[in-house]
C-alpha cells in the first residue's frame, strides 16, 4: 500500500470515529511518517499521534483505525460525517421503540419481553427547537448576566479619571505636546468575568427540565465564551463544543444522536469524579460551578462526598439547583443531597428558571459583585427564597 493511500484510509477511519482530521493533518502525517518510516512501528505510531490525534483520550482509536486500514475497511470514503458508519457499532444496544423500522424488527417485536439487565439503559431524545423571539430575549438577559459575572480584578486596564497614573499612556499622550507632560493619564483594572461550569443531570428524574436547560446553556454559550457545559447521568459528556455550533437545529440533531445518556439512572459522585479527573486542572477560585440535579444518586455516597469536597477546593462557589427545593416541605433527605449539602454555597429550586427575570434575580443574588480585594470565598449554604 502506498503511503498516501495508507494515510488517507487512516484519516477516513479516524474521522468516522468522530475525530477532526482535516487535509492539513493528513499532509502533516504523510510528511511525518515519511521521516520515520525506516524506523520501528513505535516511531510511526508517534508520528500518527502527533499529527492526527491531538487528544490523549482518543489515542486508543488509532489501533482500531489501523486495523480497519489493514483489513481494507477504511477506504470506501462513505459516511465520513461520523453518523452512519460509527453509529451501528458504537450503539449496538438500541433501546426498545427506537428500532430503525425494518420489517424484520417488527416481526421480532412479538418475541421481545422485559426483564432486568445489569447493562445501563441509555436513551436518546429529541429536543424542541428554539424560536427567534427566545433568542432575542435570551441575548438581552445574558448580556445583563455577563455584567454580573464581572467580579474579579483582571490584568487589563482602561482609561479612568479615578484610577492610578499610567506612565506609558502619559508619555505617549505627551508626544502631542512635543514631549511636554500636560496631563496625567490614569487607568483602572478591568474586572474579569468569573467562569461558569454547568453540570447538568439529564437522567430520567430530571427529564422535565433538560430541554429548557440545554436551550439556556446554548444561549449562554452564544454570548460568552466563559462557560463550560457538561451533561451527566451514569456517565459524563462535555457538550461545550456542540453548543458552540451556531445553528441550534444542528445542535439538537447532534445532541439527540450523539448523546445517549438521556433518561437513565444517576451517578453524581462518579460523574463529578470523572469531571475532576479530566477537567480539574482548568478550575480555580474564579470558577463558579452550577450543578443542576435532584440529588437522586445511585452511586456510592462516599464517592459523592469525596468528589464534592474536591470540587469545593477547586472552585470559588458551588450553586446547586434542585427541583424539589421548591416544594414547601422540602428537606434534603436523599442521601445524595445530604452528602453534598455541606459543600454547597447556594441551594435553590428550579422555580428560579420559570421566567427570565427570576433567573436574573437569582444570579444577581448568588453571584454578588465583590468588593476590591475580596476573593470568592465560601459562604454558608443558603436557600434562596424567590
Amino acid at each position: 500500500m502506498h503511503l498516501y493511500d495508507f494515510v488517507c484510509g487512516l484519516a477516513r477511519s479516524l474521522r468516522r470515529q468522530g475525530l477532526k482530521v482535516g487535509i492539513s493533518e493528513s499532509i502533516d502525517a504523510c510528511q511525518a511518517i515519511g521521516l520515520v518510516i525506516d524506523r520501528g512501528f513505535e516511531d510511526i505510531l508517534t508520528a500518527i499521534r502527533v499529527t492526527m490525534v491531538k487528544d490523549p483520550s482518543k489515542y486508543h482509536l488509532i489501533e482500531q483505525a489501523l486495523e480497519e486500514v489493514a483489513t481494507g475497511g477504511g477506504g470506501t470514503g462513505e459516511g465520513e460525517s461520523g453518523e452512519q458508519g460509527g453509529e451501528g457499532s458504537e450503539y449496538a444496544m438500541q433501546p426498545m421503540g427506537m428500532s430503525r423500522g425494518s420489517g424484520q424488527d417488527q416481526n421480532s417485536a412479538s418475541t421481545q419481553f422485559v426483564m432486568y439487565s445489569p447493562a445501563e439503559s441509555l436513551h436518546r431524545r429529541s429536543l424542541r427547537p428554539i424560536d427567534i423571539h427566545a433568542l432575542k430575549t435570551g441575548k438581552r438577559i445574558i448580556k445583563r448576566m455577563r455584567r454580573r459575572l464581572a467580579v474579579l480584578p483582571g490584568r487589563r486596564s482602561t482609561a479612568s479619571k479615578k484610577g492610578d497614573i499610567a506612565f506609558a499612556k502619559t508619555i505617549r499622550h505627551s508626544f502631542r505636546t512635543f514631549g511636554e507632560i500636560m496631563e496625567l493619564r490614569k487607568s483602572t483594572k478591568i474586572l474579569s468575568r468569573a467562569r461558569l461550569v454547568a453540570l447538568i443531570d439529564i437522567s430520567g428524574s430530571m427529564d422535565t427540565y433538560t430541554d429548557w436547560l440545554v436551550r439556556a446553556m446554548y444561549l449562554f454559550s452564544r454570548f460568552t465564551r466563559r462557560v463550560e457545559v457538561f451533561v451527566f447521568s451514569t456517565r459524563l459528556r462535555r457538550i461545550t463544543d456542540l453548543l458552540a455550533i451556531t445553528d441550534f437545529d444542528e445542535i439538537r440533531r447532534r445532541l439527540s444522536s450523539e448523546i445517549d445518556l438521556w433518561g437513565s439512572g444517576t451517578r453524581i459522585g462518579y460523574s463529578l469524579k470523572i469531571f475532576l479527573d479530566n477537567y480539574g486542572n482548568m478550575l480555580n477560585r474564579s470558577w463558579i460551578a452550577v450543578i443542576v440535579s435532584d440529588g437522586w444518586d445511585t452511586g456510592e455516597p462516599e464517592l459523592l462526598k469525596f468528589s464534592m469536597s474536591n470540587l469545593r477546593q477547586r472552585v470559588g462557589r458551588i450553586i446547586w439547583l434542585n427541583p424539589h427545593t421548591d416544594k414547601p416541605n422540602f428537606r434534603p433527605l436523599t442521601i445524595g443531597m445530604m452528602t453534598a449539602l455541606p459543600y454547597i454555597d447556594v441551594l435553590a429550586g428550579m422555580s428560579v428558571l420559570e421566567d427570565y427575570s427570576s433567573f436574573l434575580r437569582f444570579f444577581g443574588k448568588s453571584i454578588k459583585p465583590l468588593k476590591r480585594g475580596e476573593s470568592l470565598v465560601r459562604r454558608q449554604p443558603e436557600r434562596l427564597a424567590l
Binding site: D28, A32, L35, R39, R49, V50, R155, A168, S174, Q313
Partner: protein, 304 residues
C-alpha cells in the same frame, strides 16, 4: 561539527542521547515528536500535568542545539505590546529633549521610530534573531492567555512575520523552533491545535522517574530514591489528593532529603519534608502517610 551540521545530522537516537547528556531523560515518543517538529518546521504543542518537564524540554533543546532560548510566559491579559514590541517611550522623550537643545530637528520622525527605540518582546526577538541555528521559541502556558491572544498566534505561527506600522513588515530569516506548553487549564482552540504537532506528556513510568532522580540528585542513597518514586506514585494514584505531585516535586523532595542526609524514608522524615510534594492544606490533612509507607514497604519486599 558546525552548528548547522548539528541540526542537519540530527536523528531521534542522537537527540535522545544529547538530551540525556544535558540531564533530560526523554521518552522515545517525545524525542520523535521533537525531531518531527524540527524537521517539519512545525510548532510543537506539549500538553500535560504540571511539573512533568514541559518547559524544561524547551530549555534543554536550546542547549542541545547550541542556540538561544526565547521565552514568552503567557498570562491572562497578555497583549501585543508584551508579546511583540513596544516603543521605548522614556528614551524617545529624552532623545527629543536632546534634539531640542541642539536645535537640530531634521529627520526626527524617522530617527524616533527606528530600531534603536524599539523594545523587542519575545515574538519580535524570535523573528529578528540572527544566528546560524534558529532560536527555540518557548510559548509557555498558552492556556493561561486569552482566546484573543490565541487567535493572534494563529497568524503569527502561519507567517512568522511582524508588521510594525512605522517600520514595515519584518520576516524571519530562519523559522524558530516553536514549543508551546499547556497545563490544560482550558481547552486549546482547534485552529491552534491544527497548526501544531501535538504531544501529551503524562507522568513518567517508575523506571524513568528513578532514572531522572539518579541523574539529577547527588548525595542520596539509591534505595531512598526508589522509595521516593514509589511514594510519589502511590500519592498520584490516590483519588483524595487534589494536587498531584509532578516530577519537579519528586526532584525537590529528593534534593531536600539529600540536604538532610536522610538514610531512609520513614514516618519522621516524611512528616518533616512532606510539604515538598503536598502543597495544599486539605491534601495534607487527607494523606495517610502510614498506609502509603506500609504499601511501599510491601512493594519493596516484592521487588526485592
Amino acid at each position: 561539527m558546525s552548528r548547522a551540521d548539528l541540526l542537519e545530522g540530527l536523528t531521534i537516537d542522537t537527540l535522545i542521547e544529547k538530551l540525556e547528556k544535558h540531564l533530560y531523560v526523554a521518552d522515545r515518543s517525545l524525542a520523535t515528536a521533537l525531531y518531527l517538529a524540527i524537521k517539519m518546521n512545525k510548532p510543537l504543542l506539549i500538553e500535560g500535568e504540571p511539573g512533568c518537564g514541559k518547559t524544561e524540554i524547551a530549555k534543554v533543546l536550546a542547549e542541545v542545539l547550541q542556540t538561544d532560548l526565547i521565552r514568552l510566559q503567557c498570562y491572562e491579559g497578555l497583549d501585543a505590546s508584551d508579546a511583540i514590541y513596544e516603543w521605548n517611550y522614556p528614551k524617545q522623550l529624552l532623545y527629543i529633549r536632546l534634539l531640542e537643545n541642539k536645535g537640530d530637528l531634521r529627520d526626527v520622525e524617522s530617527e524616533l521610530f527606528s530600531e534603536k527605540f524599539l523594545l523587542k518582546r519575545p515574538l519580535l526577538a524570535a523573528v529578528m534573531h540572527e544566528g546560524e541555528i534558529p532560536p527555540v521559541l518557548l510559548i509557555d502556558e498558552i492556556d493561561r492567555a486569552d482566546e484573543e491572544f490565541e487567535g493572534f498566534l494563529l497568524e503569527f505561527l502561519a507567517e512568522f512575520q511582524v508588521t510594525i506600522p512605522e517600520i514595515g513588515t519584518i520576516k524571519c530569516k530562519k523559522q524558530p523552533i516553536v514549543i508551546l506548553t499547556s497545563n490544560r487549564t482550558r481547552e486549546i482552540g482547534d485552529g491552534l491545535k491544527r497548526r501544531c504537532l501535538y504531544y501529551y506528556q503524562s507522568y513518567p513510568s517508575r523506571e524513568k522517574e528513578l532514572k531522572i532522580l539518579k541523574l539529577k540528585v547527588k548525595g542520596l542513597d539509591e534505595s531512598v530514591m526508589a522509595k521516593i518514586v514509589d511514594f510519589v506514585n502511590v500519592v498520584r494514584q490516590r483519588p483524595e489528593i487534589a494536587k498531584k505531585p509532578g516530577i519537579s516535586e519528586s526532584l525537590d523532595w529528593a534534593n531536600a532529603l539529600a540536604r538532610l542526609s536522610a538514610r531512609d524514608l520513614n514516618r519522621e522524615t516524611v512528616m518533616a519534608t512532606l510539604s515538598c510534594i503536598i502543597k495544599t492544606q486539605e491534601d495534607l490533612m487527607r494523606i495517610d502517610i502510614d498506609s502509603i509507607l506500609s504499601m511501599i514497604g510491601s512493594m519493596g519486599g516484592k521487588s526485592g
